[in-house]
């Protein structure tokens, strides 16, 4: 069987202009990439937008009569949709006028209309997209800062080295973007003292907090398995290894949050609420003579959430009090993510099967870093970038990939909304009959 030989990149590039590849050689697998944006908007979505706009009109009328904070909040939420719909409708009437002009007798007029038509059509497609975006629900944690947890996949030290690389990549990316970060945990495995080829350490677990509001939305596409293909520093015979690093992105609850929000820790309905009686606290101290007899610095703390078996250990700071605070924060974030995942699982099973394929879970491989080919591929958006050092330095290439993932996520959200809308209208029809 023929395997693809290694081809110099510049040669490939020069060949590309000469021949059109056979369709079979085109890369199609492993990318369930973005579907091309349909011009305009699906009719069911438009229907929904009209309903919402009508509701917005009613609300604003009632608000003028007497102010009610609850109504005002709802009106603010849906005003985005109403505004987008208004623009869309305007553009559509404009298009209609142009089309009538096309049939006019004046040749000059027809020419002008023809010129404008293309631009207006493009504008309409844009506005339709905007409207879909406005209709897609905002992620409940989108405005929050986030915690990026990096765990090496099962396997040898190669995965651990790469975990360190990934950690530094995100750190550098945040530095480039000007996000404030804090290293919550950075633990090397003490199994051996080797260093990777670029001086990486074997990472056990690392947690990076990005303190920027909205960081969760920016990084939520990063969650998943990151695969690396390279010849490890430890490899003697030069074989390429494949290993994986799991990245979890969890919302980090802000230290002082207002009551009633999803991030309120005291509110039992919130995802971040944990019943303190369900958590076992252990200060990992050996029993025996203590007090004045010994002066060891024992600040390590371990929290176990008993219903789920989630444990968090923390020994970063010399102060037990601050270790306790950070351990609680991590535990809250993990539990909140678990709760949200469970809820998403539930809604996913209720929706049609088309939607569930693209749901992110920890198990899916989302991105590949291939050192030999100097390539980084995102498997969801289908984006290929050929400047791996820049990606790993958190530069513009990484930004490009992350942007493509954001677009993909947004498109997926829109698809979800359309499917949901169609499902409800179908059930309405059934009910009508």
């Amino acid at each position: 069987m023929l395997t693809a030989p290694w081809v110099c990149r510049s040669c490939v590039r020069s060949l590309r202009s000469l021949w059109i590849p056979h369709p079979r050689l085109l890369r199609r697998a492993s990318t369930n990439g973005a579907t091309d944006p349909t011009p305009g908007i699906s009719p069911s979505l438009l229907e929904r937008a009209r309903k919402i706009a009508a509701e917005h009109g009613q609300l604003s009328v009632s608000l003028e009569a007497n102010f009610d904070p609850k109504t005002a909040k709802r009106a603010g939420e849906i005003s985005r949709v109403a505004a987008a719909l208004r623009e869309f409708e305007q553009a559509r009437t404009g298009l209609g006028e142009l089309q009538t002009l096309l049939t006019s007798d004046d040749a000059e007029m027809r020419e002008l209309a023809q010129d404008d038509l293309e631009a207006t059509k493009a504008q309409l497609a844009d506005l339709g997209h905007n409207l879909s975006v406005a209709l897609s629900p905002k992620h409940p944690f989108a405005d929050m800062p986030c915690l990026i947890e990096i765990h090496p996949g099962p396997g040898g030290t190669e995965g651990r080295f790469f975990a360190d690389t990934v950690f530094h990549m995100y750190q550098a990316y945040c530095a480039n973007k000007g996000y404030r970060t804090r290293v919550v945990q950075y633990e090397a495995s003490d199994s051996d003292g080797q260093k990777g080829s670029e001086g990486e350490i074997a990472l056990q677990e690392a947690v990076l907090e990005v303190q920027e509001p909205g960081a969760y939305a920016a990084f939520r596409g990063e969650a998943g398995m990151h695969r690396v293909q390279r010849v490890p520093a430890t490899e003697k015979s030069g074989r390429t290894h494949t290993s994986a690093v799991a990245v979890w992105v969890l919302p980090s609850f802000p230290e002082n949050s207002g009551p009633g929000t999803a991030s309120d820790v005291e509110n039992p309905d919130s995802d971040f609420y944990i019943d303190p009686t369900e958590v076992r606290t252990e200060t990992m101290r050996a029993r025996g003579a203590g007090g004045q007899h010994v002066n060891k610095t024992e600040s390590a703390i371990r929290l176990t959430h008993m219903p789920t078996g989630t444990t968090v250990s923390m020994q970063d700071s010399r102060s037990q009090a601050s270790n306790r605070v950070s351990a609680w924060r991590i535990l809250r974030s993990r539990i909140a993510a678990q709760k949200r995942e469970a809820r998403e699982e539930l809604t996913r099973s209720m929706r049609s099967s088309v939607l569930s394929q693209s749901q992110i879970t920890r198990g899916d491989k989302i991105r590949t870093y291939n050192y030999q080919q100097d390539r980084c591929t995102d498997h969801r958006s289908g984006m290929d970038v050929h400047n791996l050092p820049d990606v790993l330095a958190g530069g513009g290439s990484l930004n490009k990939i992350m942007d493509s993932v954001q677009t993909w996520l947004l498109d997926r959200d829109i698809q979800n909304v359309i499917a949901e809308e169609e499902a409800t209208s179908a059930s309405d029809k059934k009910g009508g009959k």
Partner: protein, 394 residues
Amino acid sequence: MPRLRPALFWRARRTISPLATLILPACRDLASAANELRWMREHIAATPSPMPSKMRLWFMCDQRAKGKPLQYVLGSQPFGHVDIKCRPGVLIPRPETEAYTNEMARLLLSTLPPQPSSDSPQLTSLNILDLCSGTGCIALELYAQLQPAAQSAGHALSVLGIDVSRQAVQLARENVAHNTQLNLIPGTTTATSPNNADIRFEQADIFAPDFEERLVSNNQSQTPKSWDVLISNPPYISSRGFARDTARSVRNHEPRLALTPLPSHKTTTAAAAATTTTTTTTTTTTESQQQTIFSSRLEDAFYARILALCRRLRPKRVLLEVGSMQQAARVVDMVAGGGPGLAELYPLQRAEIWRDDPRHDRPDDCRQKSVGGHEIRVRGFGEGRSVYLCRADV
């Protein structure tokens, strides 16, 4: 101390740093060596100095290798909400102390009387006495936790720390300034922010015959102070225990004065007993007020003295750190045998023994302890760490 395997040193060198081999004999295991090294690095990064940082690190590791406690090497120890400066000559704050101080603060916050009516000019006061205060950690932590609540509820909070060592009192005063500067505790009364809270440290010998008079006469300006809390972490290790049970770094680097009572303390107690009673037995007194509690063991000398002070000062709550469950039982026994005055003042039904971590109960630990026919409630898990007494009328 068991010998460390040479392989461990090689691993420390390989996995952590060559400096880790230096401090490994003092730290005893890889994880804590790695942690301590990291904390030293963080400390160096946080405190600028003209000395090159590599040299500073080596110097610190060298000191640590000689067994000097990390808290003395770094010069500080976080304690609950506050940061305590540490210096050779003054005992380092312990995590167990932090745990029970925290619990005491929680207890006081939950029982803080509600806000007095705004028209009454009389401020209710909350007076805390910390005997053998050392670095002042207990006093500062209680002050840091109680001050905001006391301020908002309109109580005057006053914390007084007493220690016999001049060095300790000086360090405690430095700690007040240090934590005020770090904004960890609210500053005491200044012109800009009127504050009805106060924290002071004074040098005094609690065994001095005129100590009670001094304490009472100290606030002549007011009516005799009613103490709400008496809290103390006195020396409680026996000479034998000091030689056998203490860690080497404690024995070689921490002040013995803060760990074991001196023989003179016992004789002072005994002398006081002799002057007030005709015989040394404690049961044949005419007035219970004059009676002195007698301890047969040297390591309990401070408890005898403090309980005698309690009878005079009548603090509402008393919390005394002890070394073990046996010692806790002996202290409870002293309260029971301290004559009708003391046992009536602090009924044993309300006395408690707190373990290392008083907040968290473990099912496998015993919740009751029988002392001389009384069942005493035991809280938390770990080794018996402190004795809590509560006045009958509170």
